[in-house]
Symmetry: C2
Subunit: 402 residues, 2 copies
C-alpha cells in the first residue's frame, strides 16, 4: 500500500486548483426567459433610447413652463385643456401659449409642452384648469434616453443575469442573448461495493450516494452534471471512463482515491496527465486527489459519503463556479455558540457539521460513512488547521447548507 | 381621481400579506434527479438499515478482538491471514481463533470477526500478520444501521431537499419522492403603453420590462411564472384576465394600481373579492394594491420598472416562498459606508439601490422609471420609515441582489 507522501494544507490545495482552472469559452444563444443566472459573453450596447421619447414622470398636465411662472394658491394661472391622454395614447395636438393637455405618467410629452404640472397642484372646472404653483422647464419630465442612451454599454461581458439585468434587456426589446455555456461535469462513481438506485443490493453492497450529492452541488452552482454508470475499481475501467469523459469540462470520480491496494486513480492520472496534489490536510476527506489531463481537471474524491460531500463543498463547488464564470459563492453565515467541547486534529482543517437550535450549534458528526451527519445538519463550521479545541459556549461561524 | 385614503406601514402590509397566504397543498412525484430545492410532502421512513451490514471503517484486518489483547510493539500477536477482501467483495470464510482476513474500508465484516486492526498497526510476512496493538470489540467497525436504522424518520415533511438530503434518499435506494408542487404565479402586464418583446414599438410605447423582472423573481424563489399577454387598461379586460388567472396560486398585475383615472384594478378586486390594502408607506412603489379573490391573492404593482421590481422583492418574493413552503429568504448582507448623504422621506421605507466599490456603497437611484437604477446596482439598503437622513460615511447594511 502506498502511503501519502505528504499532505498539503487546504489553502495550498485551493490555490493550486484555482491556478489550474480555465473559465469556459463556448457560448450559446438563449431566450431571455431562460437567461436568469446565466453569464453574458458579450457587452450589451443599447441600440435605442429608453425611454424612446420625453415622457411625463407624473400624472397631471403637460404645460409650457413659462405659462405657470408666478402661480400660487391665491393667484393661480388658468390654462385651457385641449386634450387628454392616457397611458399609450399620443396627442396629435400642439400645446400653444395658455393651453395644457391632461397627461398620465409615462405618456409621451405632446409637442409644445416642456413640463408636467402635478395633478395635486391643480383644480379644474370644465376645460379651465387652475395651476396653483409654477413649474420649471423639464420639471416632472423623464427625457428621452434618460434611463438608457443609444450607444451606451448597458450590461457587460461577464455580468451574471439577475432579475434587474434581465429587465434591462427587456427594456431594449432584446429577446435572445449570447451567454457562456454551462460547464458539463462528469460525475463518475467508482467501486464494486456500490449499486445504483433501482437495482437490488448484492451482499456487501450499498447504494450510490455520491453521484447524487455531487450532481446536486454541480447543479446548484451553474453546472450540468453528467452522471456516469458505476465503474469497477480496475485500472482499465477507470482509464476508459476518464477517456470517455474527456469531452466534459471537469471530471469528478468518487471513491478510489484512498491508499487501499486497489486504488488506481492516482496511477491512471499519472499515466494520462499530471497529479497536482494527493492528500490534503482536511478532515474528513484527506485522501483527495487532483490532477490534470489534457487541460481538463480531474478530481478523485474519497468514497465515504460525508468525506465526499464535504469535498464537494470545499473543492468541486469553487471549481464549477470558476469554470462557469460565476463569482465565488457568498455562503450565508450566522454566528452561534457551540453546544459542547469539540476536539479537532491540529494540522487538519475540519468540516464540522452542526444543527442549529436557538443560539446553539450542536455538532452532528457521526462518522464519515454517515450521510445523516450531513443530511441532519443545518450548516458547518470550518475549523482551521491551527485550532485544536473549541470550548462549549465558544462563538463559531456557521456556514448554512442550503 | 381617487386619492389614497391612507397609506399603511410596510410592516403592517407584510403582516396582512402573511395572514392571507396559504401554503400550497397539491403534490407530485419527482425523480430524485429533479428533487433539488423541492419541499417534501411526506416523512421519509427508512425501510432498510444503512449500512445494511456491519462494515469495516478502516483498511486493515478483520480480527477477533480477544486475539489481539496484550499486543504491543515488542510482543506483537501473530495472526494467520486466511482471505483478502476488497470493496464489494464478501468473504465466505469464518474467522476462527488465531486467524484474520485482510479487509478494505466499507467491506462487510466476515463472520467470526468483531473488530478491524488498522493496517498501520501491522506488518506481515506472507500469511503471518503481526499485530502491534490490541483492539477492543467493535473497534473500527460501523455497525449495521449506524447511519440509518430501519423504521427511523430520515427526512421530514416540509424539509427542503439540499445536496445532503438528496444523498440520504439515495442511501435508502429511493428513486422517486412526493413533493409539493411549485406554485404557479400569473404575471399579468397591463397598460396600453407597453409592447411585448419582438413587436415594433408604436409611438408612445415602451417595452414590457416588468413581466420579465417579476417572472425572474418568481423563478428564483421556487415558483413557476405564467406570463400573460399584455392586457389593456380597461375594466372588462382586467376582469377577464383575473378570471382566467383564477386557476393559479397567485396573481400579480403590473401597472394599473396608481391613482390615474384609468386605474381599474382596485374596482375589479372590490367587485370580485376584497381589497386588503391599497397604498403602502414605501418609496418607490407606494401605490401597491393587494386583494383576495376566492382565496387567491392578487397583487397590483405599480408599472414603473424600479417601483415594480422593488415591490417584487418586498412583497412577491416572500409571498411566493410562503406558498411554496420555502423558508423566508436569508438575503446575503454586507456592511458598507454610504458614499454620500441620503435624504429619505420620513414615514416611507425606502428601497435605496447602491453599487459597491471597496468599503463604499454608492446610491445609484435615477428615477423610478429607470431600470438601470436596479440593473447597475449590487444591492439595496432598506431605509426604515423613521429615518430621514443618512450622512456620508455612515455604515449601512446592503442586501445583495443576486
Amino acid at each position: 500500500m502506498r502511503p501519502f507522501k505528504s499532505l498539503i494544507p487546504l489553502e495550498k490545495a485551493l490555490k493550486i486548483l484555482e491556478g489550474a482552472l480555465n473559465p469556459i469559452d463556448s457560448t450559446e444563444f438563449v431566450s431571455i426567459k431562460k437567461a436568469l443566472g446565466r453569464v453574458l459573453s458579450e457587452d450589451i450596447i443599447a441600440e435605442m433610447d429608453v425611454p424612446p421619447f420625453d415622457r411625463a414622470a407624473m400624472d397631471g398636465y403637460a404645460v409650457r413652463a413659462e405659462d405657470t411662472y408666478g402661480a400660487n394658491n391665491f393667484e393661480p394661472k388658468i390654462l385651457r385643456k385641449i386634450d387628454e391622454i392616457y397611458a399609450g395614447d399620443v396627442s396629435d395636438k400642439t400645446v400653444q401659449m395658455g393651453e395644457c393637455i391632461q397627461i398620465s405618467t409615462g405618456c409621451k410629452m405632446p409637442p409644445g409642452s416642456d413640463a408636467v404640472m402635478m395633478v395635486e397642484s391643480t383644480d379644474h372646472v370644465g376645460a379651465e384648469v387652475k395651476m396653483f404653483k409654477p413649474v420649471h422647464p423639464k420639471e416632472n419630465v423623464s427625457p428621452k434616453g434618460e434611463d438608457i442612451a443609444t450607444g451606451s454599454i448597458v450590461l457587460k461581458h461577464g455580468d451574471v443575469l439577475n432579475p434587474s439585468k434581465v429587465g434591462a434587456l427587456a427594456a431594449l426589446g432584446i429577446k435572445k442573448i449570447r451567454v457562456y455555456e454551462k460547464p458539463r461535469v462528469a460525475i463518475i462513481p467508482t467501486g464494486d461495493e456500490i449499486a445504483d438506485l433501482g437495482s437490488e443490493l448484492k451482499d456487501g453492497q450499498v447504494y450510490d450516494i455520491n453521484s447524487y450529492t455531487l450532481s446536486s452541488i454541480v447543479e446548484e452552482n451553474g453546472g450540468i452534471p453528467i452522471k456516469f454508470e458505476i465503474v469497477p475499481d480496475r485500472k482499465e475501467d477507470v482509464r476508459a471512463a476518464i477517456k470517455k469523459a474527456s469531452e466534459y469540462d471537469l471530471i469528478t470520480l468518487s471513491g478510489g482515491s484512498s491508499v487501499g491496494e486497489r486504488d488506481v486513480l492516482h496511477d491512471v492520472i499519472e499515466e494520462l496527465g499530471t497529479v497536482l496534489f494527493h492528500g490534503v490536510q482536511i478532515k474528513p476527506g484527506k485522501p483527495t486527489l487532483c490532477g490534470i489531463i489534457d487541460g481538463t481537471l480531474v478530481f478523485g474524491i474519497p468514497g465515504y459519503p460525508t468525506a465526499c460531500l464535504s469535498n464537494g463543498y470545499r473543492f468541486l463547488l469553487p471549481a464549477v463556479r470558476k469554470i462557469a464564470r460565476l463569482p465565488p459563492s457568498v455562503g450565508t453565515t450566522i454566528k452561534a455558540r457551540i453546544s459542547r467541547r469539540v476536539v479537532s486534529s491540529l494540522g487538519r482543517s475540519q468540516f464540522l457539521t452542526v444543527k442549529l437550535e436557538g443560539d446553539f450549534a450542536h455538532p452532528v458528526f457521526k462518522e464519515s460513512g454517515a450521510i445523516t451527519s450531513m443530511a441532519d445538519a443545518d450548516g458547518y463550521v470550518d475549523i482551521p488547521a491551527d485550532v485544536d479545541l473549541i470550548e462549549a459556549g465558544d462563538e463559531v461561524e456557521v456556514i448554512l447548507l442550503m
